[in-house]
């Protein structure tokens, strides 16, 4: 279970406050979505949970299964089961996809899988997400299209088997067919790992129609302003954020 308790978050460099008294609880197996206008802190939230170097938590706490993770480094958080599917995955020249994933898997599981079994598993996962096997030997995300980068993120998710998955605008840069493929893979992952939880950050309801969140939250001015179900996402798409009636965030989300 992931609990974010009255968390305020600022940028380290210029002390700009982004999240203010933000609270959210995601229980095992739940799927939550966060929507909100540009610049309201959705991606900051995702990065703050992962311990990004540009942000500092000024108050509040983040608990994973009841224990604070604020003192943990980013890799320690990943080893606890957190996974952030990035909005714009970083290009790393000179480090091959396979070398990176094998090192990551060894770090997460603590065991070095034999090469044959690793290649078999990863090739199967690549087939699932419709990625060419040649991409395994290319530099990480280098020369990948926007869609290939996102599929590669989902490939990493399938290989590393996290328990809490944060999807930061997974749907940006994906065509309709690619979106369907990655969403089918996430749904299948959820079926195979029913305790896994999802936090979807998005601007559009289309991805939510595939992944069917139980809760949709609207983030505005650094905290959750409204919580509802799928109907809230559809209402936002129809009427925009400006027409939204706000309610206090704390009671509705904790």
């Amino acid at each position: 279970m992931l609990q974010i308790k009255k968390m305020s978050c600022s940028t380290k460099e210029d002390d700009l406050s982004i999240l203010d008294n933000f609270s959210l609880t995601i229980k095992e197996g739940e799927t939550h979505a966060i929507m909100g206008p540009n610049g309201t802190g959705k991606s900051t939230l995702a990065k703050a949970i992962m311990g990004h170097y540009q942000y500092k938590i000024t108050s509040g706490d983040i608990l994973l299964d009841g224990e604070s993770i604020l003192h943990l480094t980013t890799d320690e958080r990943a080893k606890k089961g957190l996974f952030l599917c990035m909005q714009d995955p970083t290009v790393i020249d000179g480090v091959s996809n396979s070398e990176f994933l094998r090192t990551a898997k060894t770090s997460i599981t603590g065991e070095k899988e034999n090469l044959y079994s690793f290649i078999k598993n990863i090739e199967k996962a690549m087939d699932d997400v419709s990625l060419d096997h040649n991409m395994l030997h290319r530099s990480l995300n280098k020369g990948f299209s926007g869609g290939e980068k996102k599929k590669n993120e989902i490939l990493q998710m399938k290989m590393l088997k996290p328990s809490i998955i944060i999807l930061d605008e997974l749907d940006s840069g994906l065509d309709v067919d690619s979106l369907r493929i990655v969403c089918e893979n996430i749904e299948k992952y959820k079926e195979e790992n029913p305790k896994a939880s999802l936090l979807i950050i998005t601007h559009y309801p289309r991805i939510l129609q595939y992944l069917k969140p139980e809760y949709v939250h609207i983030l505005k001015d650094g905290c959750i302003q409204k919580t509802g179900g799928m109907e809230l996402a559809l209402e936002i798409e129809k009427n925009g954020y400006s027409s939204m009636n706000t309610i206090s965030g704390d009671e509705s989300n904790e």
Binding site: M50, H52, Y53, T73, T74, D75, R77, A78, K79, F83, L84, M86, P89, T90, I92, D93, G94, V95, E99, F100, L101, T103, A104, K105, S107, I108, S139, Q156, L160
Partner: protein
């Protein structure tokens, strides 16, 4: 490519002169050394790829000059260095195309990573005396990217593992390098 050369310098200052008459790839690995390199492209249409990868601790330099002595010659220089401590590392990189050599390609890419507070300088010079040359240069001096480290650590790699993979990718920057020929250099990367 017809010819492939491997050079490893360790703690010594070296001078090299190459007269290139056939397509050639040179992998030059340098550990805490200074090098002066002069390359003459002597046959029309010849291509040279030069990969210089350098681990630096003290005060050292690379001075490399490529002379396009014939038309239609092609040079690609990739100079990568890691300045590990507080030493001084200077790269002087020159591509020269005289007036009588036409339709040449003369490119260079230079990068130095400072791991601590070392002072690094790159002088990327293109001395071109012809209008039909295709020529580019780039120079970057900086630290290892925090964003790259974050991305790798978000997948469970420790900072040390992420650093090692990044440096390995930076200093062994061609898939064609035969790793069995540079074992000493790989060992040095692990020490950074």
């Amino acid at each position: 490519m017809n010819k492939v050369l491997y050079i490893i310098d360790e703690k010594k200052d070296t001078n090299y002169q190459y007269n290139i008459c056939e397509d050639t790839v040179i992998y030059h690995f340098s550990i805490d050394s200074s090098s002066k390199v002069e390359i003459n492209l002597l046959t029309e249409g010849v291509t040279l790829y030069y990969y210089y990868n350098n681990i630096n601790y003290g005060d050292h330099f690379l001075n490399i000059r490529v002379n396009h002595k014939e038309s239609n010659t092609h040079s690609e220089l990739y100079n990568h260095g890691v300045n590990v401590e507080n030493g001084k590392l200077d790269y002087y990189v020159e591509g020269c195309v005289p007036k009588n050599s036409s339709h040449c390609i003369c490119n260079q890419e230079n990068q130095i990573m400072n791991m601590m507070d070392g002072k690094s300088t790159i002088f990327p010079n293109l001395l071109i005396d012809n209008y039909d040359v295709d020529s580019n240069h780039s120079a970057y001096i900086g630290k290892l990217s925090e964003e790259k480290l974050f991305y790798m650590m978000s997948r469970g790699l420790t900072e040390e593992e992420a650093n090692h993979l990044l440096l390995n990718g930076f200093l062994i920057n061609s898939d064609s390098i035969d790793l069995s020929k540079i074992k000493k250099f790989i060992k040095e990367i692990k020490k950074i």
